[in-house]
């Protein structure tokens, strides 16, 4: 892992403040430039970023260390560093996402739109979950700021699960007791939807639907004892063993379905390569910004 500098204590706060000021200044400068310059800057940065990953992939690695390096510069380690920086930038955009949620639900409540009570519930859930999550982990997120534990009341300090502490209990109730079960409920609805979708799909309306129906029947019969019983009379070792339903369904999966999946995979891989090239070389201009699709 490439490490430029590890800051501790006051230097950490100075580095954070400097980085913040530099980022704001840079954004301000870019904001003042004309759209054409911004577009060129985007193209240049996209190309440079892509070039780095291009080099990291195409320069063959050292077989012993499995690391890719050019003139002693380890590209493999730098990829991890850039990955961390990307995660930080992604973290900032999360604030935008939260802003969007607060904005939409805030308007619902403020204008008493239909079902505005659900939006109120959103605010309640958001606030309670945030409060107890921060409270439970307070010593984790205050540690870098050097907040002393001594002197704080015990109801703040005590987040230990063994002591049946309030923040831990409430957080566990919200996360394990409510959220996980609600998620499982949503997932379980899938079982009913599979049946209704399968019913529609298996109605033979066309040649393709008929093929789908026949293949599905073969695969289902190959999985259940009743299906296997139908072809039990065919010898396991005989020349017609392939016609036993469990063998035939396996053959359909490996000899027909497998190659088709792989062929789709090849097509997708090539599509991904082409799309990546177009984005890297900014050939997609006009698709997202400044043009008509």
């Amino acid at each position: 892992m490439v490490t430029f500098w590890i800051a501790k204590g006051p230097a950490l706060y100075a580095a954070m403040a400097s980085a913040f000021v530099a980022a704001v200044a840079m954004l301000f400068v870019v904001h003042q430039t004309n759209p054409q310059f911004k577009r060129r800057l985007t193209v240049l940065l996209t190309f440079l970023g892509g070039l780095f990953y291009f080099m990291e992939f195409f320069v063959p690695p050292n077989p012993d260390t499995k690391e890719t390096a050019i003139l002693g510069w380890s590209l493999t380690s730098t990829v991890k560093l850039i990955g961390n920086a990307t995660q930080v930038i992604g973290g900032f955009t999360f604030i935008l996402g939260i802003y969007n949620l607060l904005n939409v639900h805030g308007r619902n409540v403020g204008r008493r739109r239909r079902d505005w009570q659900y939006s109120l519930l959103f605010f309640l859930g958001f606030a309670v979950m945030a409060l107890f999550a921060f409270w439970r982990d307070w010593n984790v997120w205050t540690r870098p700021f050097g907040v002393p534990e001594v002197g704080l009341p015990s109801w703040i300090r005590d987040t230990n699960a063994e002591h049946r502490a309030l923040p831990h209990d409430v957080y566990t109730f919200l996360f394990e007791g409510l959220w996980r079960n609600m998620e499982a409920t949503m997932f379980s609805i899938l079982a009913f939807y599979i049946v209704s979708a399968a019913y529609r799909a298996f109605r033979i309306r066309s040649g393709e639907a008929a093929v789908l129906m026949v293949v599905a029947m073969i695969l289902m019969m190959g999985q259940v004892p009743l299906g296997m019983a139908l072809t039990n009379g065919i010898s396991v070792d005989g020349p017609f063993a392939i016609l036993r339903i469990e063998n035939f369904s396996q053959w359909v999966l490996t000899a027909l379905n497998g190659p088709e999946q792989r062929a789709i995979g090849f097509g997708l891989g090539l599509g991904l390569l082409a799309m990546s090239l177009r984005i890297w070389l900014s050939l997609e201009r006009g698709t997202y910004f400044g043009g008509n699709a």
């Binding site: 992939f57 195409f58 063959p60 690695p61 050292n62 077989p63 930038i89 992604g90 955009t93 999360f94 604030i95 935008l96 996402g97 939260i98 969007n100 949620l101 904005n103 939409v104 308007r107 239909r114 079902d115 609600m182 998620e183 949503m186 997932f187 609805i189 899938l190 939807y193 599979i194 209704s196 979708a197 399968a198 529609r200 799909a201 789908l212 062929a263 789709i264 995979g265 090849f266 097509g267 997708l268 090539l270 599509g271 991904l272 390569l273 082409a274 799309m275 990546s276 090239l277 177009r278 984005i279 050939l283 997609e284 006009g286 698709t287 997202y288 910004f289 400044g290 008509n292 699709a293």
Partner: protein, 289 residues
């Protein structure tokens, strides 16, 4: 390609000793060479198309239906819902966003509302700006409603339940699902089906394709997904890259056929000698990293 060849020759002559090891070249260089060759074929086709070379794209029903589904929503006076899937801000989701912007631009012309939903906050930042610019470019910035570009949740099933809720409450006339999907795909598609929405879905996630085929009216599968923008815009650069992809697929097909022949011949000859020319060819693709 010639630059890569020159660099490889230089590495062979003056680089580390392992560059002279045939096994190393097979394991670490051959695969990269193939990818470079495919990339070059695609770029060459793009350049050819840019210079005015003719290109033909076959009809893709799911993409042809986009105009029709936008028109349906306009006639019914109900909104369009568009899900960008559960992916991050990557190439797959950017392709979904490109299709979404095409739908938005069409809908702006008819004054139809499009509700764009996503799971990733980084994608939300890009999508919000792109949709805003689409309205400005169409000369109707006042029609842009920020609430129609929605970040729902970064949790898979919270995202799914929010989508189901929006589709049910708004009674969307047309529902689009493009991007990466997992278990929530069928839940959302069935919810849209229950409100009578016409559905177009496209995903590179092969495990979800059967669910989409069962639940949606039009499904875009495989590399059709990446052909979407080229098909919708007929932009020479994009069409050219499709031609390049097809040529690369031909190369794959030819290699696969040669491989099948090579392995069949080897089996018939009962050849076990590792130095056998056909065996060398058959083993060429094994273990490349």
């Amino acid at each position: 390609m010639s630059v890569a060849g020159a660099l490889l020759g230089f590495a062979y002559l003056r680089g580390p000793a392992y560059f002279q090891d045939l096994n190393y070249l097979k394991t670490y260089v051959f695969g990269r060479g193939v990818v470079l060759l495919l990339g070059t074929m695609i770029l060459a086709a793009i350049l050819h198309a840019r210079s005015g070379g003719p290109t033909f794209i076959r009809r893709i029903p799911g993409l042809t239906a986009i105009d029709e589904t936008v028109g349906r929503a306009t006639e019914m006076g109900r909104p369009i819902t568009f899900s960008l899937g559960i992916g991050q801000l990557d190439v797959l989701t950017l392709q979904a966003l490109a299709v979404a912007l095409h739908v938005v631009r069409l809908a702006i012309r008819f004054g139809t509302r499009v509700i764009l939903m996503m799971r990733n906050p980084t994608l939300y930042a890009v999508a919000d700006e792109a949709v805003n610019e689409a309205y400005t470019a169409a000369g109707r910035p006042e029609s842009f409603n920020r609430e129609d570009v929605r970040f729902l949740s970064n949790q898979q099933f919270a995202y799914a339940s929010a989508m189901v809720g929006i589709i049910s409450r708004e009674r969307s006339a047309s529902n689009y699902m493009f991007g990466q999907f997992a278990a929530e795909a069928l839940i959302v598609a069935e919810a849209a089906n229950q409100v009578g929405a016409v559905q177009v879905a496209g995903t590179p996630t092969t495990t979800q394709i059967p669910f989409f085929i069962a639940a949606c009216d039009y499904t875009i599968i495989g590399d059709e997904y990446y052909a979407a923008t080229a098909y919708l815009t007929r932009e020479p650069v994009l069409s050219g890259s499709l031609v390049g992809q097809d040529r690369a697929k031909m190369l794959f097909l030819a290699t696969a056929i040669l491989g099948v022949i090579a392995v069949t011949v080897l089996t018939l000859m009962n050849a076990t000698d590792n130095a056998h020319t056909i065996k060398l060819f058959a083993d060429l693709f094994k273990g490349a990293k």
